[in-house]
């Protein structure tokens, strides 16, 4: 699994001894843009870490991905298209917000189904007619 991730990540995986990418640890000037970038980063998975988003990882790959997100946001690209680009490149594994698809619809439907089943079960505990 880890080997697979690293293989997938190779295109942006920088040598750790080189200094971090320009925008890895530097915020964008425009606070609104920075907030947008930050919100997106929190939903992207650091591919070489153990269950962390790129917004809270010290791994150099996470730094590179943060830099990439900030650059593209600064250029005016919208978050959805950046996410789509990353998914195209690294697969669904990169996003913590699984896109609705043939594989993920049971996941997204689950809460609604559970609520409905729960409501049906709970009805049994209630009296049909008030006395």
């Amino acid at each position: 699994m880890a080997a697979l991730c690293i293989a997938l990540a190779a295109p942006v995986l920088a040598d750790p001894s080189t200094p971090p990418a320009a925008l890895a640890y530097t915020q964008l000037r425009d606070p609104a843009q920075e907030a947008t970038a930050k919100a997106l980063m929190e939903t992207l998975r650091c591919l070489v870490c153990q269950g962390q988003s790129i917004a809270d990882s010290d791994a150099s790959l996470a730094g590179d991905m943060r830099s990439l997100v900030r650059e593209r946001i600064a250029k005016g690209e919208n978050p959805a298209s950046i996410r789509a680009w990353l998914i195209q490149r690294y697969g669904d594994y990169v996003t913590y917000d699984p896109p609705l698809s043939a594989v993920t619809w049971p996941l997204w439907l689950a809460p609604i189904v559970l609520l409905a089943v729960g409501a049906l079960l709970a009805r049994q505990s209630f009296r049909r007619r008030p006395r």
Binding site: M1, L4, P19, P20, Y25, T26, Q27, K38, E42, T43, R45, Q50, G51, Q52, S53, A55, D56, S57, D58, G91, D92, Y93, V94, T95, Y96, D97, P98, V103, T104, L107, W108, A110, P111, L114, L115, G118, A119, L121, A122, Q124, S125, F126, R127, P130
Partner: protein, 680 residues
């Protein structure tokens, strides 16, 4: 010597557990031919527990059972006690070899180092796979002994069945330890020194977080054993609920503390200001908590109104299954996370078999016996019971969503699909349901048992609703924040008012302690929710490459890097920054470190956090760049501390409720005693 003594104690304890299981089974079989029709007696108990005649009838019945199989039944209690002592000896021996840094023991070599500080040698005994499993079963054994010593309210038969179930659970753990995870294995030749402990774990949190969580898990397993005992003896009723309640409450208090402590540990240790990551292992600790919270409320309905019988037993089964999943999945290595230390895929099969036996067995017993559990009372929608049913429904749905969200990527990976489920999914699904639950929580305690009037409830809810709307309006006008934090803050304000409302118009000195417990716990939820919402709405982040002496802005503070100096710790060397933060005439000095550990080679960020009444200033030292500047990460997090303060309040509320119930039970027992004297 110590390692061998520990292993011997472990074998003894395992043998005693087997004996305990067999004796309980034999005793119950012998007793099942006895004169007692258990459903009938359950009915008399629940109708009037305080009536002296019932008490006498129970005593007579108890005596008859004693006659049938005195030897077998009376033996089970002492066996449970000795088993607890034996396993405690084994754990003490393991701690002993860690403290002595006995490098001929494999586990010590792999997880310790002679230069490690004392506390981490001690706590390091359970900072690894084998040791943590031994700790688990030690707490289980001690809890079994405690049940054997303390429990006097249950009919003897149910108690023996309970102890039998406990022994059954323990046996699986003993087998797992002895056959695939022996903590006392020797290594030959012994190396000069050990490999050391993961520096992320070298924190006082390690001494506190795992034992607390495990006590919680084990408490749930005791509650589950009670449920098994009740199912086997067909004795599900208010008496069973009252006997089980303190264990559920106790387990829930420790789970709350363990999760709260773990969250704060992750917050200051990981160095990015996050306090909950929806990491699979965090979810694995959250799920038993959710189930225990639901169980806590349904057990109250069962004890008070004799309703939700099958449901309560089912919840006990679910809560136990969740704690098993929590314990084993983390250890199996299926989940990748910081918690998956010492992962060995060969153990996976053993673990899956154990999980299948326990959960499958519990569900099978439930399915076989649920037909004999009479349907409990049914309820009005507008009543305290109705609100508690809603509470159970919503908590169970949240539990289901968290479970599915946690397991979905694992299952998908089994089909060759790689995907991630994280914070955005849980925020969108769990978030709204949790907020509905908060609204119900505000109303629930203001409803009367049995039946209430919708209009009267609305009148009682007027102030909480008004405050929530007022806060929401204020936030919409003065702050532009996301919808979830907005609703979170408003509902937290409303809940804070609603949770203390049950005390209005009451004589505060005559209000029972467990009512205070409920008030404090619900208030804790409001406080914690306010902290979470405030953190996600108002946190300001500053990432800079700072020159010495150059001021940087972080929220309301101006922060200056005064300088960097090297520091040597007991088993690490570090670079320490000195930061001076000023706000108005307030000055704070912070010293974040970047630590370098040699055994094993790791660099960690040690954040420096300043706590003020209105929030925390969180500072982390990063890497230098080629122009002599230092990377700093600074966060101002308004009211973030409320998250953990709320968690502590929730646990305190639980403790007050436990104390209150215990005092009332003691008083009732005294009154029964008096009544018996009067009758005699």
């Amino acid at each position: 010597m110590m390692a061998e003594a520990g292993l011997a104690a472990l074998w003894f304890a395992a043998a005693l557990a087997a004996l305990q299981l067999v004796m309980a089974a034999l005793g119950l079989r012998a007793a099942s031919g006895g004169p007692r029709a258990s459903t009938g007696s359950a009915r008399t108990e629940e109708q009037d527990a305080a009536a002296p005649t019932t008490v006498r009838a129970e005593l007579v019945e108890g005596r008859e059972h004693q006659d049938v199989n005195t030897e077998i039944l009376t033996a089970v209690r002492p066996i449970a006690i000795v088993q607890g002592l034996m396993i405690a000896v084994a754990m003490a021996m393991l701690i002993g070899v860690f403290l002595n840094s006995d490098m001929s023991v494999k586990l010590v070599v792999e997880n310790s180092h002679s230069a490690k500080p004392w506390l981490y040698k001690f706590a390091g005994a359970w900072g690894n796979h084998e040791g943590s499993m031994l700790l688990w079963v030690t707490i289980l054994g001690l809890a079994g002994g405690a049940v054997a010593i303390l429990e006097r309210r249950l009919p003897e038969r149910t108690l023996i069945a309970t102890l039998g179930a406990q022994a059954g659970i323990a046996l699986g753990f003993y087998a797992f330890l002895l056959f695939s995870s022996n903590p006392f294995d020797r290594i030959s030749p012994a190396p000069a020194d050990g490999l050391g402990l993961n520096p992320l774990l070298q924190d006082p949190g390690l001494a506190f977080h795992p034992p607390t969580l495990y006590i919680g898990y084990v408490g749930i397993s005791v509650a589950f054993s009670f449920a098994v005992g009740a199912l086997i003896t067909r004795d599900v009723g208010p008496a069973f609920a009252r006997a089980m309640r303190p264990w559920v409450l106790g387990a829930w208090i420790f789970l709350t503390l363990g999760i709260t402590a773990g969250s704060y540990w992750a917050y200051y240790e990981l160095g990015w200001g996050g306090w909950w990551f929806w990491d699979p292992v965090e979810n694995a600790s959250l799920m038993p908590w959710l189930a225990a919270t639901a169980l806590l409320h349904s057990v109250t309905v069962l004890a008070t109104r004799d309703g939700l019988r099958a449901w309560t037993v089912m919840l006990a089964v679910v809560a136990f299954s969740m704690s098993m999943i929590g314990t084993f999945l983390v250890r199996s290595g299926i989940l990748t996370s910081v918690h998956a230390f010492a992962v060995d895929p060969k153990r996976g099969a053993f673990i899956l078999v154990l999980l299948a036996i326990y959960i499958g067995g519990a569900l099978a017993l439930f399915a076989a016996r649920v037909g004999t559990v009479r349907a409990g009372n049914s309820f009005e929608l507008f009543s305290r019971e109705g609100a508690l049913v809603a509470n159970n429904l919503l908590l169970s749905v949240i539990l289901g969503v968290v479970l599915i969200g946690t397991l979905y990527p694992i299952v998908a990976a089994g089909f060759g699909v790689q995907l991630s489920v994280g914070a955005p999914f849980f925020d969108k699904t769990v978030g709204p349901i949790a907020l509905i639950l908060v609204a119900v929580m505000g109303a629930g305690p203001l409803l009367r048992w049995r039946r209430d009037d919708g209009q009267a409830v609305a009148a009682r809810m007027m102030w909480p609703i008004a405050v929530a709307c007022f806060v929401a309006a204020g936030l919409v006008v003065f702050a532009s924040i996301g919808i979830l934090p907005l609703l979170g803050l408003s509902l937290a304000a409303g809940l804070a008012i609603a949770s203390v409302a049950p005390l209005w118009g009451r004589n505060l000195r005559r209000t029972p302690l467990f009512t205070y417990g409920m008030v404090v716990a619900h208030l804790g939820i409001a406080v914690s929710l306010a902290g979470m919402a405030s953190d996600s709405a108002f946190t300001t982040e500053t990432l800079v490459a700072a020159r010495v002496g150059e001021p940087v802005k972080a929220g309301p503070f101006s922060v200056v890097l005064d300088g960097i100096k090297p520091v040597v710790g007991e088993n690490y060397s570090a670079l320490e920054a000195q930061l001076t933060a000023t706000r108005g005439d307030q000055t704070i000095v912070l010293r974040p470190q970047s630590r370098y550990f040699a055994n094993p080679v790791t660099t960690t960020n040690e954040s420096a956090i300043a706590t003020r009444w209105d929030g925390q200033l969180y500072t982390v030292l990063g890497q230098p760049d080629d122009q002599g500047r230092w990377q700093l990460r600074l966060w101002w997090k308004p009211f973030v501390t409320l998250i953990w303060f709320g968690g502590a309040l929730i646990a305190l509320g639980g403790a007050l409720a436990l104390l209150g119930r215990w005092r009332r039970a003691a008083r009732t027992a005294r009154r029964e005693e008096d009544a018996r004297w009067a009758a005699a």
